[in-house]
């Protein structure tokens, strides 16, 4: 058992939160791994879980659109291409709210470390490219808890395209085909993903992501993640508090 323990930092909501949730009960931590497809988010999360559990911390994993309530509906709706700019975001918000209230908050109450594979920024980025009012989508997700730390695995568009093709190919939405149906799928994909990366760069500043270069080896990336988590989320018993705002570690 390591001598590390979780630093106590009060939780807060991004906007108008859940009036019926008592934030002082939420003792655990939220670690977010953001990034586009093909950056190795799930590999890094699996390794973090191992590491944290060896350190003696209980962990819980939650992933974008994996909600019991609405995950399947989202898959089917995407299949049918029947979403408009509001329903697209409202379904994401429903997915997030279901996981927040039925998984994340109970885990935080029990003192777990929650590892989130993507977070609300994924919705912000996609909404941005679809000309949805950015203020509306941020207010919609106002009930989201501010994570304790957000890592963004950054990749360049060339590498991203190769990794996605390697992993099985492009789909309609990830190619932004709804935005430019006149383009062939590859052209549409390339353009959409390039725009997406630009939006993520803006979000990284707005939400103070720790930006990591996803071209580095899996082991090296993992080491950077572990160092940052140790630095910002843990404290040695008795040691003086150092609570700096996370800054980019890229």
């Amino acid at each position: 058992m390591s001598s590390l323990q979780l630093a106590e930092v009060p939780k807060r909501f991004y906007g108008l939160g859940l009036p019926y949730v008592d934030l002082s009960e939420l003792k655990g931590k939220i670690i977010v791994i953001e990034g586009t497809d093909g950056v190795g988010r799930s590999t890094q999360i699996a390794m973090l879980r191992d590491w944290l559990e060896v350190q003696g911390f209980a962990t819980m994993e939650t992933g974008w659109t994996r909600s019991e309530l609405i995950g399947q509906t989202i898959d089917e709706a995407k299949e049918g291409h029947s979403l408009n700019r509001w329903t697209f975001n409202l379904l994401y918000a429903t997915d997030f709210a279901d996981r927040l209230e039925n998984q994340i908050i109970p885990a935080l109450r029990a003192g777990y470390i929650v590892l989130a594979d993507r977070y609300i920024y994924t919705a912000f980025a996609r909404a941005h490219l679809r000309s949805v009012d950015p203020q509306w989508v941020r207010e919609l997700f106002g009930f989201a808890l501010v994570p304790d730390i957000v890592f963004y695995l950054k990749i360049d568009v060339r590498m991203l395209i190769q990794r996605v093709l390697e992993a099985g190919g492009m789909d309609y939405w990830e190619s932004g085909q709804d935005l430019h149906p006149q383009l062939d799928m590859y052209e549409s994909f390339r353009r959409y993903q390039a725009q997406l990366l630009k939006v993520y760069d803006q979000l990284a500043i707005e939400y103070q992501f720790h930006v990591l270069n996803a071209r580095h080896s899996v082991q090296r990336t993992q080491r950077v993640l572990q160092d940052a988590i140790t630095r910002y989320l843990f404290e040695k018993p008795g040691a003086p508090r150092s609570r700096r705002r996370p800054k980019s570690t890229a």
Binding site: G15, L16, G17, L18, P19, Y20, E68, L69, I70, Q72, T73, A77, S82, N84, W86, T87, L90, L91, A93, T94, A97, D98, E101, N102, D133, W136, E139, L140, G142, F143
Partner: protein, 226 residues
Amino acid sequence: MATLNQKHDFPGKLIIVEGIDGSGKSTQLLLLQRWLQAQGLKVFFTEWNSSPLVKKASKAGKRKGILTPTTFSLLHATDFADRLAQKIIPPLKAGMVVLADRYAFTAFARDAARGVDRRWVRRVYNFSVRPDLAFYFRVPIDVSLKRLMVGRTQLKYYEAGMDLHLSTDPVESFRLFQSRVLKEYDRMVKEYSLIVIDARESISVMQRRVRMMVQKALGIQSAPED
């Protein structure tokens, strides 16, 4: 883009009815529809919670008991957004009269009564089209209960707000939950200029009032009939 706070500029008209269950609003809307059609107007009717997009998820969520006040609210907002884009805006663009049985105000009332932040739910629905006429059928709880229990042996779980665990007795729970809903409606009367109709009146008296208001708003020439 249309919002709830400013007048839309579609050629059609949007008329909505609100009120708790048992207020008689659906009957009133049906009678209004008959009359408008008899005047030769093209009418489109839509009702709350009827889009196929989230139907399965809502049903399963209720059955499994995993809905929270916030997911309950968001499922209804999704349903509404889907109907707005597919059912409400196209006939408004085509110059038709759209009749909606319940509108965003239902969400504002119920979700706030369930403990969701009332400012948040208003922001979520900010993309709604502002109705040209919004009728609120105000009825005391006892009258609504009496009407609902005719031909029924029990109240529906969510209608009675049983998910809030206010009481184990459905009738008592209905009373407590719907009083909260009524309070929320009352705050909206001024906020959104709802036209209050006393729903203790007879069906024909209410309908005459509704038709008079609609006639004025739509500029219909012939005299309203009973």
